[in-house]
């Protein structure tokens, strides 16, 4: 057998043209009669100077070509529906199919966002009830659903903090404090709201360095952005003390509630003393990530921030549900979207919350925590190093592969890529930044023990591969639609738009 033959045998779809970019399957003059309105002969009133001269380059393929192309593309993804996906801080849990089907009932899909509320009471009642559920779950006093993702929720939260200080004439507060472990959106958001960011360090036990906090806090402090359980996967035990320090300094506390999975029904941000929280419904409330979105980032607030909540919100007068707008809430920071945010995502979260019910909420916390602690302990037993070995895991925990990187020259990235060969999506790598060569591992409550054990075994196997065949591991993956991709070239030889005349493969 020639070498070429050997390669041929082992590469899926030898006849590779099948998976080129869609434009390569396009031929001029092909149309989909079924999908275009009939041609009409009526005249147009648009002046020629405003008309396009040549048609845009869009693919010209048949409906079947499109279906086949995108179906095949989909198969190149790992996803919750196909793989264990323990991506820390991302809460990749099962997205119940009913949430999708029921949110996509024609009566909801056809509802125009500006239609009179009389014609959408069923839809609005879901949103209203979701507001109520989220209030109860977070212990906050009022909730607005409008932010379209976690980061926009953060923006809304920080803008409210600013509006609050401004409303009191307390305008000298120009700094926001973030732990060094904070998610990147936190500092970025603070800056978008016109603040300067002060970082404070995390202690070796994973808690915040309170002394450092005391040092940076002052009359210039607008607030602090925290998350608890923190992004290092531990519960900040001295949260009440921290809240007191911040409040005493006149600052407010922002809670990054992207990850509520481990505390649902166990402890509430409102009770910890937070003034504002955003939630990632696309994590804790199991709305799908969709390969990058959409999400939803509702915000909840304590008493003092109620007037500033972003609009629209849903009100209920005992008879009818209606939109609350700036007219009703003049101190609101205003609108964040053209309509009411990612309504369809909110519907899915509502359905999920109702399926869980009050008994289901704490169970999420319990079993996600159980899974995380089990994996943490088992990985430790297999010889892996934990970033915070003295602590309980929450919904997630951190393994550091610093030792492997140093002694075997096999990095966290290499472990990650090799895990893909074993049929597991990699954990979050290199975040939080403060732990070197880290894996942030979040199994979620919807994975069964066999799956966790399979992952743990794979980690152990890769460890022994790393010890005996480091080069093999460093060149992984081998079994995926692509080998390791050249990120440097991607940025240097920027190719972000396909141009005619090119051939992918």
């Amino acid at each position: 057998m020639s070498n070429e033959m050997k390669r041929n045998i082992n590469s899926q779809n030898i006849n590779g043209h099948q998976d080129g970019v869609i434009f390569e399957k396009s031929h001029s003059g092909r149309t989909n009669a079924c999908q275009s309105p009939r041609e009409s002969s009526a005249s147009r009133v648009i002046p020629a100077s405003l008309l396009r001269e040549s048609p845009p380059l869009l693919p010209e393929v048949s409906e079947m070509q499109a279906v086949r192309h995108f179906t095949r593309l989909s198969q190149k993804n790992f996803s919750i529906d196909t793989h264990f996906y323990p991506l820390g801080s991302c809460t990749m849990k099962y997205n119940p199919r009913a949430c999708n089907t029921l949110a996509m009932l024609p009566g909801f899909l056809n509802y125009h966002p500006l239609a009179p509320v009389e014609t959408g009471q069923g839809f609005m009642s879901c949103l209203y009830e979701l507001q109520e559920i989220l209030k109860e779950v977070t212990g906050m006093k009022e909730v607005s659903l409008t932010p379209m993702a976690g980061a926009q929720g953060e923006f809304a939260g920080m803008a409210m903090i600013r509006a609050y200080h401004d409303a009191r004439g307390d305008t000298a507060r120009c700094e926001v404090i973030c732990p060094d472990a904070a998610h990147g959106t936190n500092p970025a958001t603070a800056v978008m709201c016109g603040y300067k960011v002060k970082e404070i360090p995390t202690r070796a036990d994973g808690d915040i360095d309170i002394e450092a906090l005391k040092e940076v806090i002052g009359p210039q402090t607008a607030g602090i952005m925290l998350t608890n359980p923190s992004t290092v996967g531990v519960f900040e035990r001295r949260i009440t003390e921290i809240a007191k320090i911040v409040h005493d300094a006149g600052g407010l506390l922002y809670y990054d509630g992207a990850n509520l999975n481990a505390i649902l029904g166990k402890v509430r941000p409102g009770d910890m003393g937070f003034d504002v929280i955003h939630m990632n419904l696309h994590k804790t409330f199991s709305t799908p990530h969709g390969g990058g979105g959409p999400g939803a980032g509702p915000v909840g607030v304590s008493e003092r921030l109620i007037p500033f909540l972003p609009v629209p919100m849903v009100g209920y007068d005992g008879d009818q549900y209606h939109w609350l707008t700036k007219k009703d809430r003049p101190q609101s920071i205003g609108r964040l979207s053209a309509f009411a945010g990612n309504a369809g995502v909110l519907m899915r979260a509502y359905i999920y919350a109702r399926l869980l019910g009050r008994e289901g909420m704490p169970r999420i916390a319990e079993y996600s925590t159980l899974n995380a602690n089990y994996m943490m302990v088992e990985l430790q037993k297999k010889g892996f190093d934990l970033a915070f070995p003295s602590r309980r895991a929450t919904h997630e925990f951190i393994v550091t592969l610093k030792r492997q990187a140093k002694t075997l020259d096999v990095s966290a990235m290499d472990f990650a890529k090799r895990l893909l060969d074993y049929g597991y999506h990699a954990p979050t790598t290199y975040f939080p930044l403060l732990v070197p060569e880290c894996f942030l591992i979040e199994p979620t409550e919807t994975e069964d023990k066999d799956t966790l054990d399979g992952f743990i075994d794979a980690m152990a196997k890769i460890q022994s591969e790393a010890e005996t065949q480091a080069d093999m591991v460093k060149a992984a993956p081998y079994t995926l639609p692509a080998r390791r991709l050249d990120d440097v070239r991607a940025a240097r030889e920027l190719d972000i738009v396909w141009k005619p005349g090119e051939q992918t493969r």
Partner: protein, 458 residues
């Protein structure tokens, strides 16, 4: 237990491995005084059958004939789109951080970027922003960063831009000290009078140009673009993507084309769904691409030299640059973008052109028929795309819309609150989904309502 796979045996084994007696022990680091009991106000759980019944009831009810546009448009959505988009592999995947395990999503976004670039006539596209309104806010922030010649944070914002977009932009940019200065429209034409723009606007970062504008009216985008460039302003185009199958792409406006192009992607295969999720698109030329917010996918090669796709230019983003990022955006509208990509693929340039044309013509048609009703006049004389404004004589827009609704017709968007100067005025839209019979139904309903209301009879 819904969605929890643990058997009792599993739990026992796992607890034994951890070395605790019960699950409760795992929460021992939480201060006891913070712990809570049952969440009483959360209703008890339902099973799927019960939930399904509830939601079917909530989704039922009359489905009126809808002539509202105003930023969200009813278009035919090919069945294939959402059947593919909701496949688990797209639906339940995360942001493509592990490129090798996400080639499907990544290639799709690369194809999306390509389509949007060609549609707008620009060189680059990102992978989406939240929606059209917040996308415009990001465009304003980007223009302020990108306009190297300008030190100002002044933006010219026409009143003919969707008023909701303007207020969203205000919310998002005001904390960075950016000011929006209103540019008025002509009361008779419904669009900006280029001649009325100041000969010397001073140091302004950018001019926003809507096409079509909120009234459905077409702006003189070529003259506006040239005026802006002459005075050192960047041009931010806010466009309807369907219209671009017909209209000059922003990349070709005036002498040099627009600098940043954004807009609402919803018309491209995304259901109305009570307002979301939609997506904001954003395009620019390569010289500005490093100022662009949001994710971008690039084509590269793998270790075997075969083409593949990966997120690129990540140094613009919050997870790398943190406080120095171009935006705080992280999660975007990926799945909706997948729908739009399949939509554009299924329609192609010709299909999209027919959608645009048919919407334009239905709108013309409806306008002509409404115009013939006593007490109804066209607010503006200018050419429009697929929306127009009617003015009502002697009756309130609110009453008319209410009466139409009772007749099963949603007659349009009431402009009263946002544009009091127009009097009693309604913004009306008819896309390709409206048949001749639908249009006649609206006309008949409106003419009944007008004669009833004007006649003073109940």
């Amino acid at each position: 237990m819904p969605f929890i796979p643990h058997t009792e045996t599993d739990v026992k084994q796992m607890l034994a491995s951890i070395g605790v007696n019960d699950i409760e022990a795992l929460f021992d680091e939480i201060p006891a005084e913070l712990r809570i009991g049952l969440l009483d106000k959360v209703p008890a759980g339902l099973n799927e059958m019960e939930m399904s019944r509830l939601m079917h009831v909530r989704a039922s009810g009359p489905q009126p004939l809808c002539f509202i546009g105003a930023g969200a448009y009813e278009h035919h959505i090919p069945a294939a789109i959402w059947e593919i988009v909701t496949r688990g592999e797209f639906y339940s995947a995360y942001t493509p951080y592990q490129a090798e395990a996400s080639q499907g999503t990544l290639q799709l976004i690369y194809e999306y970027q390509t389509m949007m670039a060609h549609l707008t006539g620009m060189e680059a596209s990102n992978a989406s922003l939240y929606d059209g309104a917040s996308g415009l806010a990001e465009a304003v922030l980007m223009a302020v960063r990108a306009n190297r010649k300008s030190k100002s944070k002044r933006i010219l914002m026409p009143a003919s831009v969707n008023p909701t977009y303007r207020s969203v932009v205000q919310t998002i940019v005001e904390n960075q000290g950016i000011t929006l200065e209103l540019v008025d429209y002509q009361l008779d034409a419904g669009c900006i009078d280029v001649a009325s723009l100041p000969a010397d606007p001073g140091d302004v970062a950018a001019l926003v140009i809507p096409q079509p504008n909120f009234f459905g009216v077409l702006e003189d985008v070529n003259a506006l673009t040239d005026w802006a460039h002459v005075h050192g302003l960047l041009v931010i185009a806010v466009v309807n993507p369907t219209s671009l199958a017909l209209l000059t792409p922003p990349g070709e406006w005036g002498e040099q084309g627009a600098d940043v192009v954004c807009g609402e992607g919803q018309p491209l295969g995304v259901p109305l769904a009570g307002g979301g999720p939609y997506f904001g698109f954003m395009c620019c030329n390569l010289k500005h691409v490093r100022q662009m917010p949001g994710r971008i996918v690039g084509r590269t090669v793998d270790a075997d030299g075969k083409p593949g796709f990966a997120l690129t230019l990540q140094a613009r983003e919050q997870h790398i640059r943190r406080s120095k990022a171009t935006s705080n955006i992280c999660t975007n509208q990926g799945l909706v973008v997948a729908a739009a990509t399949i939509y554009m693929t299924l329609l192609g340039a010709q299909g999209l052109n027919r959608v645009a044309n048919s919407s334009h013509q239905n709108t013309q048609n409806l306008a002509a028929q409404l115009n013939a009703i006593d007490g109804v006049t066209m607010a503006f004389a200018s050419p429009t795309f697929h929306e127009f404004v009617i003015k009502l004589d002697g009756v309130s827009a609110e009453d008319v819309l209410g009466a139409l609704m009772a007749d099963g017709v949603l007659g349009g968007f009431n402009l009263n609150a946002d544009y009091p100067a127009l009097g009693e005025a309604i913004l009306v839209c008819a896309t390709e989904t409206k048949t001749a019979a639908d249009i006649a139904a609206y006309r008949d309903a409106l003419s009944r309502v007008m004669s009833r209301l004007k006649g003073g009879a109940a």
